[in-house]
């Protein structure tokens, strides 16, 4: 169907544009990485620990990733708002969800790059054994989807408001509490001092998946209303 292919092409075009712009201007990802590494250092001194395991390690890592994500989420729609990207989507005979999907995918890409760097750094700084990091990356992939689903929604709402940079963290953080709970629950046994264990991890992964699906669906359902004039 031509409508679907044109939506997909729009999705591809917007995604390619965003990634190209990010590559050229390096606005979000380097800031996220720098923020994450600095935050690790802060935690090292704030907690007065140089080795972490179990729930403490999970908490430090996840909180850092969450806050770093907010940096990127704040900037997701700035260009669209400043340069009329919203109008362009409205005028084009394309589903608004193409914009949503493209932004969400771009955010996931940024987060994956962040994690590719931050996880090893975290391991070097705090972990005695790196065995848990590989399955942890899988958990983080689900977290990234959740961050993208709610982040895009909140960012789109806040893009047109006055206190945009304040509103995004304010509204987003409570929404991310279940992600933190579930990811923390899954990461804690993976980062346990004696080596990774998979005890009870299934239910946490299920919650993460449920969260992701729920908010992707909600975003899909309401997005057109965010794009209206």
């Amino acid at each position: 169907m031509s409508a679907r292919t044109s939506s997909f092409r729009a999705f591809e075009a917007i995604l390619a544009k965003d990634l190209r712009v990010e590559l050229r201007t390096l606005q979000s990802v380097p800031a996220m990485v720098l923020f994450a590494v600095t935050t690790f250092v802060l935690f090292r001194y704030g907690l007065d620990r140089s080795a972490l395991s179990g729930s403490l390690a999970a908490g430090v890592l996840l909180a850092t990733v969450l806050f770093a994500a907010i940096l990127a989420i704040n900037r997701l729609f700035v260009a669209e708002r400043d340069e009329g990207g919203f109008d362009a989507i409205r005028l084009a005979p394309v589903d608004g969800t193409a914009l949503l999907a493209a932004k969400a995918t771009a955010l996931v890409v940024y987060l994956l790059v962040l994690e590719a760097i931050a996880l090893p750094v975290f391991g070097v700084f705090f972990l005695d054994s790196w065995a848990g990091l590989a399955p942890l990356a899988g958990v983080l992939a689900l977290v990234d989807l959740g961050l993208a689903a709610t982040g895009v929604l909140v960012s789109a709402i806040a893009a047109n408001t006055r206190a945009r940079d304040l509103l995004v963290p304010l509204v987003l953080l409570p929404l991310l509490v279940p992600v933190m709970i579930a990811a923390g629950g899954a990461a804690e046994p993976l980062l346990a001092a004696g080596g990774p264990s998979y005890d009870g991890i299934a239910k946490w992964l299920a919650i993460l998946a449920l969260y992701d699906v729920t908010f992707l669906l909600v975003g899909y359902a309401v997005y057109d209303f965010l794009l209206e004039d």
Binding site: P174, L210, V222
Partner: protein, 258 residues
């Protein structure tokens, strides 16, 4: 379905709530928790009504997005507003209960209380969100999107928090397989009373907003400014200065119903 008058509904609220409290103190038996357990009849109905109120607000928000009628936006706003106020009551009574039961003003292993805190924190952002958007229509639309998103969040949040806590503390409902009949009756009456209270306060608040809006329109008409009567949609004729935020709501001049 014919909606009862606000007066009748308010009278019913007083009657049922008074009956409920009478049952609490004169009829319901004590259990192993002692007299402290009486707080349960206040705290839990408040919590249930508050959460239901958030879901109702989400439903109104869906209707608002589908119809564009500002009436639903007003109902959504007021529903959230009252549920947040009920939420404050839930947190305070829950804290008092925690202090009486476990000696601390807050406990992290009471999952319902913690979930409630998170939900409350989320809905508290509704106000800064609304006031950060100047354009009335966009404000209403974005608020509706928020109400729907947050409504979907509530059950997920409860699930997550519940799973996070090992159930050390006895849950009033699941202990010993449920409440004995007399306690159940008391609880149900209190729940009905709180629900009626919520509904009455919502109607009360909507009526006040409607009266304010109509007054504004009347004032504008009398003072002779360029004025076109608003249609049943959410738009006011362009170029008309809006004095109060409530002027855009309740464009339907008939008595508001929930």
């Amino acid at each position: 379905m014919k909606v009862p008058s606000l007066r009748a509904q308010a009278a019913a609220t007083v009657a049922v709530l008074a009956a409920g409290f009478a049952l609490v103190f004169f009829y319901a038996p004590l259990d192993t928790e002692g007299f402290i357990q009486k707080i349960f009849y206040l705290h839990v109905p408040l919590a249930i009504c508050s959460l239901a109120g958030f879901v109702v607000a989400g439903i109104h928000a869906i209707r608002h997005l589908r119809s564009g009628d500002a009436v639903h936006d007003a109902r959504s706003y007021v529903s959230i507003h009252l549920s947040v106020i009920f939420g404050i009551a839930v947190l305070v009574t829950g804290s008092i209960w925690a202090r009486a039961e476990w000696g601390k003003w807050w406990v992290w292993d009471e999952p319902t209380l913690v979930s409630f805190l998170i939900v409350f924190l989320l809905y508290a952002t509704y106000y800064p969100l609304r006031y950060a958007i100047e354009d009335r229509e966009r404000q209403a639309r974005y608020a509706s999107v928020f109400a729907i998103t947050a409504g979907a969040f509530v059950p997920l949040n409860f699930l997550a928090v519940r799973l996070a806590e090992p159930l050390i503390h006895p849950r009033t409902f699941s202990s010993a397989g449920g409440l004995p009949g007399s306690m159940l009756l008391t609880f149900v009456v209190c729940l009905a009373g709180m629900a009626l209270l919520w509904l009455s306060l919502v109607r009360f608040e909507l009526a006040a907003k409607s009266a304010s809006a109509r007054l504004s329109r009347l004032r504008r008409a009398l003072e002779g400014e360029a004025y076109a009567p608003p249609t049943s949609g959410s738009r006011i004729a362009p170029g008309v200065p809006s004095r109060t935020a409530s002027a855009s709501w309740m464009s339907d001049p008939t008595t508001p119903r929930i």
